[in-house]
């Protein structure tokens, strides 16, 4: 029972992560995959931030009167996650740029249709040659 009370939010975060992961591997729309990527990364960020929380603590900003007897939450996970957010938006931007290029090349952003257009699942050498020569 104490586990439920003490760990429930990690479990919710894991469920969120898995929803993101599922979107990434199961959906065919490339944009949808990127959305899943976003959810996945935000969930990991939430995982880090929740472990930085101290019960009864406050945001790690020193009050004006001095920090005597004030309990702060852990600042380090926050610092790390600021970096992770930046990595997330950078990945999203690059992924979407690739999606635009793919749409221009194939006229669709559904993965199965792209594979059909490209010939097989990409394991076929002939189509590789065509891609190269184009």
């Amino acid at each position: 029972m104490s586990e439920v009370l003490g760990l429930w939010n990690y479990w919710v975060v894991i469920v969120l992560m898995m929803i993101g992961l599922y979107i990434m591997i199961a959906r065919d729309s490339l944009v949808k995959k990127v959305m899943g990527l976003n959810i996945f990364q935000v969930s990991v960020i939430m995982f880090y931030v929740s472990m930085g929380k101290v019960r009864g603590g406050t945001a790690p900003i020193l009050p004006e009167g001095g920090a005597e007897g004030v309990l702060f939450s852990n600042p380090l996970p926050h610092v790390l996650m600021l970096t992770a957010i930046v990595v997330g938006i950078a990945t999203t931007a690059l992924a979407l740029a690739l999606v635009v290029r793919i749409k221009e090349a194939y006229g669709t952003i559904e993965e199965d249709e792209i594979h059909a257009l490209a010939g097989g699942d990409g394991m076929d050498g002939r189509s590789a040659v065509q891609g190269e020569a184009e």
């Binding site: 990434m24 995982f47 990945t91 992924a95 690739l98 040659v129 190269e132 020569a133």
Partner: protein
């Protein structure tokens, strides 16, 4: 200056990248990036020299002057000094090749961006290698990954962006799982510094969280390293990327990820925990054997030279993983030596393919017919590189396989040793296909007419030279093994905790 070698190794290419972007002309950007790569090579060589002068074979650097574990620490021992030399050396040679087919994909006036991206990828890889902080690995991993996704997306043809996108999705899953693993380690120990982790982990080793952390880290790194069965992104990425990018990534990116895996298993967790308590070798050993055979078998059936080489990379990663899984000093030496040797041969081979695509306009196997007469030097490079892949004596491939077999025999794994030799026969098959097409078949008359291209001539010297530097060094390092085996065995001893 000597004291700051470690940070300069990363900061020089990192700051050169934005400078390179500002350069006005294509030749200027090219010369500048080549110069930067050679400077990093020089710095890596100096680091190796400085390491020899130390007592314990460790150099550490406190960034910002904050002592670890509070600040970020750079920490180099024999293993990463060896990798630094490899990565910067490959970059120095590959950049001389020029943008190849990537040049056509870049908009006019933006050519400097290509070199900027290569420098960023290089800086990211060096940053991963040099750091002693687990989270810092993630940051530089993303720098190098983002740069490589965009470089792969520049490939000729419609399929390059899709290959880059699949790699991006897989790579980001890998990177994020790695981040999660680091988070779990941090949660259980309160530190991100690798050396500090090593001392604090034994107290919590028996928790399920730490086992999960190890699993997440191995899977995360395994995706980027293309460990079988997480390798699906690799064949497409390498075959649709511009050849010069394939050469650079095949020779550096997976090698650095191998180093990260070695660091995680041997330094942070300790071989005893991973292999004796958890018996990770029960899983990893069969997987690496499957990779060796599956990769080589798939390579035999490819119709495209680049794709053939890509599948051969999957097999070669299997050899490296096998060395790691044997968990002995000899095995690790074999793995690390193979990292170096494979980088030389795959880099050289992909550059040779780059010469061919630049002249012939395709890397399809069919277009190789009779190429031996028209591009003698390039085809000779293909043959020598192929011989090294097989592991013929006096090439580097022989050296790594020798140590690998020795390591297997040390542990009485006779069957494994036999399988290593058997898998080399598969390499003979796919290399022979290339040789046969180049030298023993006549060019298709119709094909020449249909394509209507000017007659194929030998590649220019600017492309042949870097190709032959790499291919030539596969022979040089096959004959003199002091640098490779010498450093690798020191690194392995240090990682196993026996040596200095």
């Amino acid at each position: 200056m000597n004291a700051h070698l470690l940070v300069l190794e990363v900061v020089v290419p990192l700051m050169a990248a934005p400078l390179c972007m500002l350069l006005p002309s294509k030749p200027a950007a090219r010369m500048f990036s080549i110069a930067v790569a050679w400077i990093t090579l020089y710095l890596a060589w100096s680091i190796l020299g400085a390491l020899g002068a130390t007592e314990h074979g460790v150099i550490a650097y406190e960034l910002g002057g904050f002592p670890p574990p509070f600040g970020i620490e750079l920490r180099v021992d024999w293993a990463n000094a060896y990798l630094l030399l490899l990565v910067s050396g490959i970059a120095a040679v590959v950049l001389m090749f020029g943008p190849g087919s990537a040049g056509a994909a870049v908009a006019e006036g933006r050519h400097a961006f290509f070199y900027t991206a290569v420098l960023l990828a290089l800086a990211g890889l060096l940053g991963i290698t040099v750091t002693g902080d687990a989270f810092n690995v993630f940051v530089f991993l993303e720098v190098s990954s983002l740069a490589s996704y965009s470089l792969i997306g520049l490939g000729r043809g419609a399929r390059a962006p899709m290959a880059a996108f699949s790699y991006l999705i897989m790579g980001t899953i890998g990177g994020t799982l790695f981040l999660l693993g680091v988070g779990l380690l941090y949660q259980m120990t309160g530190t991100l510094n690798m050396a500090d982790l090593t001392t604090r982990l034994p107290d919590v080793l028996d928790t399920r969280t730490i086992v999960l952390a190890l699993a997440l880290l191995i899977v995360g790194v395994g995706i980027k390293l293309a460990v079988y069965p997480l390798h699906q992104w690799l064949p497409n990425a390498y075959s649709f990327a511009p050849s010069v990018v394939s050469a650079f990534l095949a020779a550096t990116s997976t090698k650095v990820m191998y180093y990260v895996l070695v660091r995680i298993i041997f330094t942070i967790f300790g071989a005893a925990f991973v292999f004796e308590t958890l018996h990770a070798d029960y899983l990893l050993l069969p997987l690496s054997l499957i990779a060796m055979f599956g990769g080589s078998l798939a390579a035999i059936y490819q119709h495209d030279l680049k794709r053939l080489l890509a599948y051969s990379s999957v097999a070669q990663v299997g050899y490296m993983m096998l060395g790691l899984t044997l968990a002995s000093a000899t095995g690790l030496t074999a793995g690390l030596v193979h990292v170096f040797n494979h980088a030389l041969m795959k880099g050289g081979l992909f550059l040779a393919v780059g010469c061919i695509t630049a002249q012939v306009g395709s890397s399809a196997m069919g277009d190789l017919r009779g190429l031996g007469k028209r591009m003698p030097f390039t085809c000779a490079a293909l043959v020598v590189g192929g011989l090294a892949l097989i592991g013929v004596p006096s090439t580097v491939g022989f050296v790594s396989k020798w140590y690998l077999v020795q390591a297997a025999l040390e542990q009485d794994l006779l069957s494994v040793a036999a399988l290593i030799l058997l898998s080399s026969l598969l390499a003979v098959v796919y290399v022979w296909r290339v040789v046969e097409l180049c030298y023993f078949s006549e060019p298709d008359a119709t094909q020449v007419e249909v394509t209507g291209r000017p007659p194929v001539r030998e590649a220019p010297l600017g492309q042949l030279l870097p190709t032959w530097i790499l291919i030539g060094s596969t022979i040089i390092f096959g004959l003199t093994t002091d640098l490779t085996v010498g450093t690798a065995s020191k690194a392995a001893a240090q990682l196993m905790g026996v040596g200095p």
